[in-house]
């Protein structure tokens, strides 16, 4: 393997190692605070590190990336407020675990799984980059639409309440995501004539409101008391890890694939992985949604594996796999390096150096992730009278800091109240978040697919059946939905009778 000497550079350079450590540490805490996003942090870092050499700059940025994706799970578990979109799914079972006094265990497993997931992502990056990236190129806009629909149908069909309610919230998410200026024609859409809405409703603001504020309101209403945390057994035992290894690997795979698709990242990966876990784990340690450890393993391994996945198109083609890699590419260009096939050819050491940085980041992730868990678990024990107002202030500041606007704060409050109603009436919130994330993907890709079919409905529909990837996705959707319905039982028992 040419250029592999690049791999050794970070390992032999203490300064670089320190930078990576600093990056991971900062990343974890940036990720943990709702309202501070990893993308924002990396953007700031580009200006900050402009005068540095490329390697230390990259080292810090990669560290922040790895730390940040994991960090969101901290507040997700402790406060039911995901610090980053990638941690939305972690809260589903992570927070119930905290409510049972097992926040320490939740954080311990989330750290371990994140580390395993990152390793998996790195492994695929090293071994299969060219194959994965050429496959990623074949995914057409139509396939993206089908994938998005698949995601929504799957997540909706498994929700606790009725599927109708889930679909309604999902649709609301999609619609909310469409408010604002249409990126293709530049025309205002769904904004009721308000210029202020032309920028749309920021996704993070909605997330903070729907998760953060609504949770605070729910706790106020139902007078939830803090639970004493049991922090003896924080590090998960080998038995737990091994028992769930197949699940971890499957979810990491989901993570890498989704991360490698340009335009989709860890947040979608985590939700899909969680859904997959729900479907495939027949006897979870506890029912999903009430503190099943599998419900933390799935999203955490997936969203970290997506990091490695996102680097695949970035390094091989210079195309970002997700939002953070887009900023990283910009960062590299500013230093005079353009990621892509030329860089791989002319300076292959870079690829290996980045791989090494990812590995070292992962090691520090474990170190920093495991330390402080005991201290952090105590946060859940703080009396509600004190922690609730603090959470509210953080939510407000987080929303404000996205685009320096007080209007965003009002939006956050509005969605907080909406989220409160949703939670009271058993409307699942997860589909709404997924709908919001997928909204631009569905809309733009649908219109691209239409344009590619020369705006001809016939061409559009036949295209779905002539393209291998599209057919596979459609089959997948059909099978998954069928397996939920009553007919499946009939078919299955029919089969069993035949083969008895």
């Amino acid at each position: 393997m040419i250029g592999i000497e690049g791999f050794l550079i970070p390992f032999l350079n203490l300064e670089l190692i320190m930078y990576i450590a600093a990056g991971v540490f900062v990343g974890i805490y940036v990720g943990a605070i709702p309202g501070l996003s990893v993308t924002m942090a990396v953007s700031i870092l580009i200006s900050f590190t402009f005068s540095w050499d490329i390697l230390p700059a990259l080292a810090v940025m990669i560290g922040v990336f790895v730390g940040g994706v994991y960090g969101g799970s901290r507040s997700a578990i402790l406060l039911n407020i995901p610090g980053a979109p990638a941690a939305v799914a972690t809260a589903f079972d992570g927070f119930p675990l905290a409510k049972r006094g097992e926040a320490g265990i939740a954080m311990g497993i989330s750290t371990t799984e994140s580390v395993i997931g990152t390793f998996f992502g790195i492994a695929v990056l090293v071994v299969a980059s060219p194959i994965v990236s050429s496959l990623a190129l074949k995914v057409s806009p139509r396939d993206y639409v089908l994938l998005a629909i698949m995601g929504l149908l799957l997540v909706g069909s498994l929700s606790k309440g009725s599927m109708l309610k889930a679909m309604i919230t999902a649709a609301l998410g999609i619609i909310a995501g469409l408010v604002g200026m249409d990126p293709i024609t530049g025309q205002p859409r769904l904004n009721f004539g308000f210029d202020g809405l032309l920028g749309g409703i920021s996704f993070i603001v909605v997330m903070i409101g729907i998760f953060g504020l609504s949770e605070a309101l729910m706790q106020l209403r139902h007078n939830v008391q803090p639970v004493k945390q049991n922090v003896d057994k924080v590090r998960p035992g080998w038995d737990v890890i091994l028992k769930n290894l197949p699940l971890t690997i499957r979810c990491s795979l989901i993570g890498v694939v989704i991360g490698a698709l340009p335009g989709t990242g860890g947040d979608i990966a985590a939700l899909m992985a969680y859904d997959h876990a729900k479907r495939s784990v027949k006897n979870p340690s506890r029912p999903f949604g009430e503190g099943a450890i599998e419900g933390v393993i799935a999203p955490e391994s997936a969203n970290n594996a997506a990091i490695g996945g996102a680097f695949i198109p970035m390094m091989t083609l210079g195309i970002p796999g997700d939002a953070v890699t887009a900023v990283l590419i910009g960062g590299m260009v500013v230093h005079g390096l353009r990621p892509g096939p030329m860089l791989m050819k002319q300076q292959p050491e870079f690829f290996w150096t980045i791989v090494a940085c990812l590995l070292i980041s992962n090691i520090f992730l474990y170190i920093f992730g495991m330390t402080g868990i005991k201290l952090f678990s105590k946060i859940v024990e703080i009396p509600k009278a004190i922690i609730t107002p603090i959470i509210i202030v953080l939510s407000i500041i987080g929303s404000y800091s996205i685009s320096n606007s007080v209007t965003d704060i009002y939006w956050m409050i509005a969605f907080g109240i909406l989220g409160y109603f949703f939670k009271t009436y058993d409307y699942p919130v997860a589909p709404m978040v997924l709908g919001l994330i997928l909204s631009p993907i569905i809309d733009t890709n649908y219109r691209r697919a239409m344009a590619l079919s020369h705006n001809n409905l016939g061409e559009f529909i036949t295209g779905m059946f002539t393209n291998t990837i599209s057919v596979v996705i459609i089959l997948f959707i059909v099978v998954s939905l069928l397996s939920q319905s009553k007919y499946w039982e009939k078919i299955r028992s029919g089969f069993e009778n035949k083969f008895k």
């Binding site: 940036v30 009725s162 649709a171 609730t388 009002y410 409050i413 109603f421 009436y425």
Partner: protein
């Protein structure tokens, strides 16, 4: 899904919370408003397949249908709506309303009184509201929190605060 999950799903579908029908009505009106707004864009209603209005019209239209279906499901399970009093009692508690009020006040005053003052006031008042003791303690915590936030957001991350 496991048997336990299916059971839970069944159970969840037959519980009704007071105010659910009212909420459904509100949802319907909101979606109807959106549909009106979406009809202004070029989409399916105008016969265009690739326009900006297609997905909005499709989604909103589908949602309206789903809300109606949900309503029918409620009828099938013989839901009866409770009185407004019950609804209010279920949804709101004194603490909740008080805090909500202070939050809105916070947002309104933020621009004029600036961050440090408004946040400290908000923190102190809401903490005191929820637990009427140890005021000095709470004052210290409020100020310390605000200090930490200013440190982290303004100086380290260079984020502008109001």
């Amino acid at each position: 899904m496991s048997a336990k999950d299916k059971e839970m799903k069944q159970a969840a579908q037959s519980v009704q919370n007071p105010g659910e029908l009212y909420f459904l009505l509100i949802l319907f009106s909101v979606f109807a408003l959106f549909f009106y707004e979406a009809s202004k864009q070029n989409g399916l209603l105008q016969g265009e397949l690739g326009g900006p209005g297609v997905i909005p019209q499709l989604m909103i239209g589908a949602s309206l249908i789903m809300i109606v279906l949900l309503f029918l499901q409620f009828r099938k399970n013989h839901y009866k709506e409770s009185y407004i009093n019950d609804v209010i009692k279920t949804l709101f508690s004194k603490d909740l309303v008080a805090i909500l009020g202070t939050v809105v006040l916070y947002a309104l005053l933020l621009e004029s009184l600036k961050f440090i003052l408004t946040s400290s006031l908000f923190l102190f008042f809401s903490m005191a509201l929820l637990d009427r003791k140890k005021f000095g303690h709470k004052l210290m915590i409020s100020l310390a929190t605000v200090a930490m936030i200013v440190l982290i957001f303004r100086y380290i991350f260079q984020v502008v605060l109001p």
